[in-house]
């Protein structure tokens, strides 16, 4: 199960050259600034953009191999595409929009049912409306359902939230997370928003000026100090974890991750549930000895792996906690006072932990 792509597209003033080998499952985010080639890459995979001399193979099926004169036109590729603008058909009701792709796919290939999609994306009340009577967020939900109802073997999403305001974004993100958990469709997700990537992506491809600068697990790339994502105010670590205990007297939730345990304020989660934990670099402080009389519950033993300068007067410290990577942002002065360097043994005091899902 994998997606292998090799594209070279030359535009006046911009060249896009990518050689990708992506996992054929879970959510892979193509992340970069506007103009980095994310959308071009997605359109080339869909066949909407012709990349001469390109090669594309999705889960063993060759979609494009110009060396052997193979190029499947878009409508013959078993994919779903969610555009930035929903692109619903204005002359059809929501119900007919949903049916449009589904009825063009052989019934034997239907894996995803309308009932499931309508329920999952909460669009039952909208079915008889025309697209012009929908809000931006509703439109995008219908577009996602419409694409998925073709039971695609790959779902491409081109910044599906970009045209929405913060409130609508917050409204859709939980639906996207449910898709990720409930459906076994690999997703390529284009975004320039670190927060979306953090919440949705398992795998990350960083693009810059039409080139791939890194590709790897989200939790790793977000904490690597040589990567742009580890900088800026939102520097954070994302850690897969499992809920192990709920304490309803003290209203606490306990989770285990590879390398330790964390205590959180009480969350509405099930014991055994897999969750993604977010620890922001600015919420982590470091000590050389374990503090005894402190209000902080989460204190983990860690090893410093890397240090680099960050905002003026601050440094970013990469930590290894029993095999899991985390970041701490501390002042330059503290770093010197503690004589931190790669290999130093420290205790990470974590002030804030959030469950993303």
């Amino acid at each position: 199960m994998s997606i292998r792509a090799r594209f070279d597209i030359a535009y006046p003033g911009f060249t896009f050259a990518a050689n990708l080998d992506l996992p054929g499952r879970g959510v892979t985010a193509l992340f970069g600034h506007s103009g980095s080639g994310k959308t071009t890459c997605l359109r080339a995979i869909a066949g909407l953009e012709r990349a001469p001399g390109g090669y594309l193979e999705v889960n063993g099926e060759v979609w494009q191999d110009d060396a052997n004169d193979i190029f499947l036109p878009t409508h013959k590729r078993p994919l779903g595409y969610v555009f930035q603008e929903a692109n619903l058909f204005a002359h059809l009701t929501v119900r007919d929009n949903l049916d449009y792709g589904r009825k063009r796919v052989a019934a034997a290939k239907h894996r995803i049912t309308p009932k499931h999609m309508i329920e999952l994306l909460g669009i039952a009340p909208l079915l008889d409306r025309l697209p012009e009577r929908l809000s931006g967020g509703e439109r995008q939900r219908v577009a996602i359902a419409r694409a998925l109802l073709t039971s695609p073997s790959l779902l491409l999403m081109d910044e599906p939230l970009a045209a929405l305001d913060m409130k609508r974004k917050a409204e859709i993100l939980p639906y996207l997370e449910r898709l990720h958990d409930e459906l076994d469709v690999p997703v390529l997700y284009v975004s320039h928003t670190p927060d979306e990537v953090a919440r949705l992506a398992d795998h990350l491809v960083l693009l810059e000026d039409g080139k791939v600068i890194a590709s790897g697990a989200t939790s790793e790339l977000m904490t690597r100090l040589d990567m742009p994502l580890a900088h800026g105010d939102s520097a954070e670590a994302l850690i897969p974890a499992t809920v192990i205990r709920q304490d309803i007297n003290d209203l606490l939730t306990f989770v285990a991750f590879h390398g330790g345990e964390l205590t959180l304020p009480f969350q509405e989660v099930q014991i055994g549930q897999h969750v993604r934990i977010r620890i922001q670099a600015r919420d982590v402080s470091l000590t050389l000895t374990r503090q005894q009389d402190t209000s902080i519950l989460n204190i983990l033993s860690a090893t410093v792996t890397d240090i680099c300068n960050d905002n003026p007067g601050q440094v970013l410290v990469a930590l290894d906690v029993g095999g899991t990577r985390m970041l701490a942002r501390i002042t330059h002065k503290s770093s010197e006072a503690l004589e931190l360097k790669a290999g130093s043994k420290v205790y990470a005091q974590i002030k804030g932990v959030a469950i993303l899902k």
């Binding site: 036109p73 204005a90 792709g101 063009r104």
Partner: protein, 223 residues
């Protein structure tokens, strides 16, 4: 009131305009689609040729069509070899001429409507497994509906209002080529002003109603 000859002229006019409009929708739609989608260097030239009848005097169009459809012209040679004879001074000839004459009034609105759709819905259709032809009929045509309505109304009305081309190519043969506009000309020549009034006023009302329908009721303008 209206004499039998006037009614025959009205009937002939409606028949000509209807047939011309239907033919133009069939011919004009693929032309408009090609123009809307092509990146060919010929696009401008084709648009200009289609638009020529807007600026040329009808006599010029009529003259060249007469030559082309005559026994020695290319269209005349073709129709003769097909055993159809020559077209000038026949109803068929009038239909061919009207198709050329009214072409821009049908192609332009459809072209505008196709261009207004943009790439988005068609790309969406392709990702939903619709072949280009499928997407054309199930997405482009329905979305361009206001353009088709405008095109039909304008094509029909413009053919009804044609005079110069008819005179050049069709002459004045009852039940064959004598349409309302020519009949009015005949009445005036014969100083039959009363009959001329009936037909002329009829055309004025007809034209007003058509334009009212176009500008007042067209869903295009409702938003």
């Amino acid at each position: 009131m209206l004499a039998a000859a006037d009614l025959a002229a009205i009937w002939l006019t409606l028949k000509l305009a209807t047939l011309t409009t239907v033919l133009l929708l069939l011919i004009g739609t693929p032309i408009a689609w090609w123009l809307a989608r092509t990146r060919s260097a010929w696009k401008g030239a084709v648009i200009a040729v289609v638009a020529l009848p807007i600026v040329l005097p009808p006599t010029v169009i009529g003259f060249y069509l007469l030559v082309a459809m005559g026994p020695n012209g290319p269209i005349g040679q073709l129709t003769q070899s097909l055993g159809l004879g020559v077209l000038p001074f026949t109803f068929a000839g009038l239909v061919v001429a009207s198709v050329f004459y009214s072409m821009p009034f049908v192609v332009q609105p459809i072209l505008n409507a196709f261009e207004a759709i943009g790439e988005g819905p068609l790309e969406a259709a392709a990702t939903l497994r619709a072949s280009p032809l499928d997407a054309f009929f199930t997405v482009a045509v329905p979305l361009a509906r206001p353009g088709f309505i405008t095109a039909s109304i304008l094509g029909f009305a413009h053919t009804v209002g044609e005079f110069g081309v008819v005179l050049m190519i069709g002459g004045n043969i009852p039940d064959q080529t004598r349409v309302v506009s020519v009949q009015i000309y005949d009445h005036v020549e014969a100083l039959e002003y009363a009959q001329a009034h009936w037909l002329s006023a009829g055309l004025v009302v007809f034209s007003f109603v058509v334009l009212l329908a176009l500008y007042g009721l067209n869903p295009n303008r409702r938003r």
